[in-house]
């Protein structure tokens, strides 16, 4: 077990623990505050998975914007203390039963059908990321833009932005349309009726 495995296990456990804390706290303020270690763990995981730009975006948008909006709304709506009691609608033993059943089914399928062999994707995941010598499209785009003929590394801003504005430009524009509609809808919904 080397350092990458250790960091992966620790950040994964941080994510799982804080996710459980988010779901099980009765006071929603504690739930929102437990979102912060969850997002920090996800950021470490994204850095490990060679997505540094996505990690920065995760920390800015989730940790900076969404979390603050949730906290702001909780302070705005001012819950009464008696609403915080008796918050769970399922019985206390239902979640362990569900998880135990899923794990039991997994082990039963392994016992009956054997363990899945390592696929080509598993082997490709274990290889180190080369600075993308095998993507000539990215290198050609960088040369056309005047940044030399070297392909950028996976997860850098260049390697995300070039496909975003070439192949995925239609979903990108649709996302912008969606955000405009969402902002207008939020303003109209939250506007005080007279």
């Amino acid at each position: 077990m080397d350092l990458v495995d250790l960091v992966f296990v620790l950040s994964g456990l941080l994510c799982l623990g804080s996710a459980c804390a988010i779901v099980t706290r009765k006071n929603p303020v504690y739930s929102v505050i437990c979102m912060l270690p969850f997002f920090i763990g996800m950021t470490i995981l994204f850095v490990l998975l060679s997505a540094p730009f996505l990690a920065a975006m995760q920390m800015m948008v989730y940790g900076g914007a969404i979390l603050v909006v949730f906290l702001f709304v909780i302070m705005l709506i001012n819950l009464r203390p008696e609403e915080l009691k008796d918050d769970f609608s399922l019985q206390a033993y239902a979640p362990p039963a569900i998880v135990g059943g899923m794990l039991g089914g997994l082990i039963l399928s392994f016992v009956r059908h054997g363990i899945p062999a390592e696929s080509a994707l598993d082997r490709a995941f274990s290889l180190p990321v080369v600075p993308d010598a095998n993507n000539p499209h990215l290198a050609r785009s960088m040369e056309m833009l005047g940044f030399g003929g070297h392909a950028p590394a996976l997860g850098s801003i260049e390697s995300i932005s070039i496909p975003m504005f070439k192949q995925y430009v239609v979903p990108f524009e649709l996302i912008s349309l969606l955000i405009v509609v969402a902002v207008l809808g939020a303003v109209i919904l939250a506007k005080k009726r007279v």
């Binding site: 077990m1 990458v4 495995d5 992966f8 296990v9 994964g12 799982l16 996710a19 988010i22 779901v23 929603p28 739930s31 929102v32 995981l45 998975l49 997505a51 730009f53 996505l54 975006m57 995760q58 948008v61 989730y62 969404i66 949730f70 709304v73 909780i74 709506i77 609403e83 918050d87 609608s89 399922l90 979640p95 998880v99 392994f110 016992v111 363990i115 390592e118 994707l121 598993d122 490709a124 995941f125 274990s126 990321v129 499209h137 990215l138 996976l154 390697s159 995300i160 070039i162 496909p163 070439k166 192949q167 995925y168 979903p171 969606l178 955000i179 969402a182 303003v187 919904l189 939250a190």
Partner: protein, 128 residues
């Protein structure tokens, strides 16, 4: 690393505690399950929205894990931007999560202003 076929069931489960594609997918599945439990079991609408954010984060983790695996598959893929596409769609998921939080919280505020509750047991104006 021990090959999967020789490890046995418990050896395979112990192998999940290392940085592999399978362990990333298992972690994403566990986070998704916790988020689904929150949506199903909680009665506070705000915590249900936070649990939806957990589920979206789990899907993002899946996308990024496959992107990390696909970057080494290289010329075998028909889509030249398959690896980058995973991270781009994770960015799109962040945008959609922000929009969803804005609209959902606006609905919560609007409902609380009318009925003074965010409990799903009390939200039954359209029942029957």
């Amino acid at each position: 690393m021990v090959p999967l076929a020789e490890a046995g069931v418990f050896g395979w489960l112990l192998g999940l505690f290392s940085f592999k594609l399978v362990s990333c997918l298992a972690l994403a599945g566990a986070i998704f399950a916790i988020g689904a439990w929150g949506v199903l079991a909680r009665r506070n609408v705000l915590v249900m929205l936070i649990s939806v954010e957990l589920m979206l984060n789990a899907v993002m983790l899946t996308f990024v894990s496959f992107s990390r695996a696909l970057v080494n598959m290289g010329p075998q893929l028909s889509n030249p931007y398959a690896a980058e596409g995973g991270q781009i769609f994770a960015l799109f998921i962040i945008a959609i999560a922000a929009a969803e939080a804005a609209v959902g919280l606006a609905i919560v505020i609007s409902y609380f202003r009318n009925r003074q509750t965010v409990d799903t047991r009390e939200i039954r104006a359209m029942k029957n």
